[in-house]
Subunit: 412 residues, 2 copies
């Protein structure tokens, strides 16, 4: 079914621009909104009003994830949504465009008299701007947190007070957090639309990405212990310069990631040099490793190999390297049946699309544990995200809305 | 002539330990003294008293460099000395042990009735701890500064007031700074003793280093402009990751420095990654280059080659690298006749010594422009310098005093 794409794009743009207004962001220079602020409350209220206007029942789970349904609890529905919080120096599109597009799917279903059984979810704190915890709403829903974390460890970036205290103050009932998982009851599927946050769609000229998997990752640090000598006075043969094993490791990481293929990527994003002055050989260097991919075997073997390589590169030069893992998460394969429906719907539009994986994490990683899930990406300009310069085209979101609508219709 | 090395070592140790006392340092945890502080004044007073006690006339040049002579102005003398200021987190030996050893040479000359014509110099602000300007006293002496710098640009790290103002407040006459060069009149030669600040003497089992040249250097920065994409979402083929040309350049710098030989060294001591977070490909990376050597041809060609290499490494990956020089200084060859006399005197002691170059800068770089100059190094433990843990053996300094005394006697 072809929708009036221009009208949908217009509505999506209006929603996006409204939610970029001063009532909805704590900053004049960026989108900055996170849980339990007035600006975040206003954003939920906006969606609530729009959803009620098309006949949805709107509620919030015990910590504040927004849930809207056009069927009573107990009836099977298909869920759409994303998150509407932002990172602290964010743009208008990350997350919000996904919720807005989900809202547009709900509107179209009503307007075109399809009356599909739908549920919209807008997750709390995907970006972690409030409490430094990414995917917090969906992790709470999937019981991937502990009560102690919610009561004690997770603390507001702004004032250091606990998540629990803030949630209660905002009128929620964190003590009932285990009930959040009920939001996923009776779901036939879940589709999240999101901006790509990279440049693959733009650079390949595709308007739609159908996401077949979300990459798993290994986050780690390597510390190389050298010897901090005088850069001028220490001959080359007397040095234990830790920048060298690091340099060799950076080059090798690229080689290993390319060799592994299957979408595996490897990045050194943080480098910390001690003491970090021009005329001193570093005594110690720390660098981070971010190794990801939709294929766990491939990306984990790169992580293992690069750890071994760094240790050997240091040892060969008389130094020691320590590899320590920060965090690891397996890849999330998405649901083949939903993907097939999305692909068919995409094909039918005649517009260029591709299948791809997501290198970034999304709430869908949690949802997919219980509900058949998929994601749709739209391009964002130059891959810029998490920045006020973030830009995406409402026309692409309208196209995504049409594809999602048709896929759901085909699936039900 | 053999001196009583044990007695000299004892006196040197006493001087060093005295000057490590609380009257002579602004910090409890380190030696911290610099121009125009009471602690620095006390240090000059200590040397003044000791030198007057053996019949030296002591004065200070118009900015505060200490000058002591046992002959009237106009008569030829041989000069010895170093500096007695420290870096802000310094040890007891850097600089001060050189002045103390020069004092011991003066004492020995008096005590042994040699009555050599001597001048002791203790340079102001070698470390730059007061005004952020290294070798400041000797640069002023050699007119390597401008009046505008002294009046305006050079400002105290502590309070931002000008060098000029501080010098006047301390009772000096900075307006007469051009006269400082007179300190070098009538000098037949200059020998500075200093701790090595590296581990070559220790690791080769030598007690004395006779310094044939002070390395010249090129200090520069390389900035590689990449593209700051999402580390997870950006496939390997879509990246402009500036850490890679940097890594290749670090590896190549080591190769080039080794290949150039002749004491050439190359170091990357500073690395600054933008934005420097684990899950972001850097948009930009800056790293410093410190390339030195006693052979200008060799070290400058390494600096040129590494700049070209970095630019090419970036270009090959579709990025740009900018090389910008911060500062460059030619190598300072030292005086062959003085070096020969020092080597002969060293040989005569039967103790292990070596000829070597200095990779670090010293006031001698300035003095050598007008006066035949040489340096003598003694080991410092593990090469540690500019740190409270700095350690050196007064017995080595006593040995250096004997060698310097004998060399001067042979030269006069």
């Amino acid at each position: 079914m072809a929708i009036d794409l221009a009208r949908s794009a217009e509505r999506i743009e209006r929603d996006i621009e409204t939610l970029a207004g001063s009532d909805y962001t704590l900053s004049d220079e960026a989108i900055r909104r996170y849980a339990y602020t007035q600006e975040y409350r206003n954003t939920l209220d906006y969606f609530t009003d729009e959803l009620r206007a098309i006949g949805f029942e709107v509620s919030e789970d015990p910590v504040g994830t927004l849930v809207a349904r056009n069927r009573p609890r107990g009836e099977q529905v298909f869920a759409v949504g994303s998150h509407c919080d932002s990172n602290r120096n964010g743009g208008k599109y990350d997350g919000t465009m996904g919720v807005v597009t989900a809202l547009e799917v709900c509107r179209l279903s009503a307007e075109l008299d399809l009356d599909l059984p739908l549920q919209l979810i807008s997750f709390l704190e995907e970006e972690g701007s409030g409490f430094g915890q990414m995917l917090l709403g969906s992790r709470i829903m999937l019981q991937r947190v502990t009560e102690d974390e919610l009561r004690e460890s997770f603390r507001a970036i702004d004032d250091g007070r606990s998540f629990w205290e803030h949630a209660e103050e905002a009128g929620y009932e964190p003590a009932r957090w285990r009930e959040c998982i009920g939001v996923l009851d009776d779901l036939r599927g879940w589709i999240e639309m999101h901006i790509e946050q990279a440049r693959v769609l733009q650079d390949t000229g595709n308007r739609i990405g159908i996401v077949t998997a979300i990459a798993g990752y290994v986050h780690a640090d390597v510390v190389v212990h050298g010897r901090g000598d005088h850069a001028g006075a220490t001959p080359m043969d007397f040095r234990l310069d830790p920048t060298l094993p690091m340099a060799e490791t950076i080059v090798e990481l690229e080689r290993l990631a390319r060799e592994a293929g299957k979408g595996t990527v490897g990045t050194v994003g943080e480098i910390e040099v001690d003491p970090g002055i021009i005329n001193a050989i570093a005594s110690r260097i720390r660098f981070s490793l971010d190794v990801r991919g939709p294929d766990d075997g491939a990306h984990r073997s790169v992580a293992r190999d690069i750890a071994a390589f760094a240790e050997e590169a240091a040892r060969r030069r008389g130094m020691e390297a320590e590899f320590s893992q920060r965090q690891t998460l397996p890849a999330t394969p998405l649901d083949g049946r939903i993907l097939a429906a999305l692909e068919e719907a995409a094909k039918a539009t005649g517009e260029p699309y591709m299948t791809m994986h997501s290198g970034a994490a999304h709430d869908t990683m949690c949802v997919a544990e219980r509900v058949p899930s998929a994601m749709v990406f739209v391009p964002c300009k130059d891959g810029v995200s998490h920045h006020p310069a973030e830009d995406a085209d409402p026309a692409d979101a309208a196209l995504a809305a049409q594809i999602i609508l048709n896929a759901i219709q085909a699936l039900l």
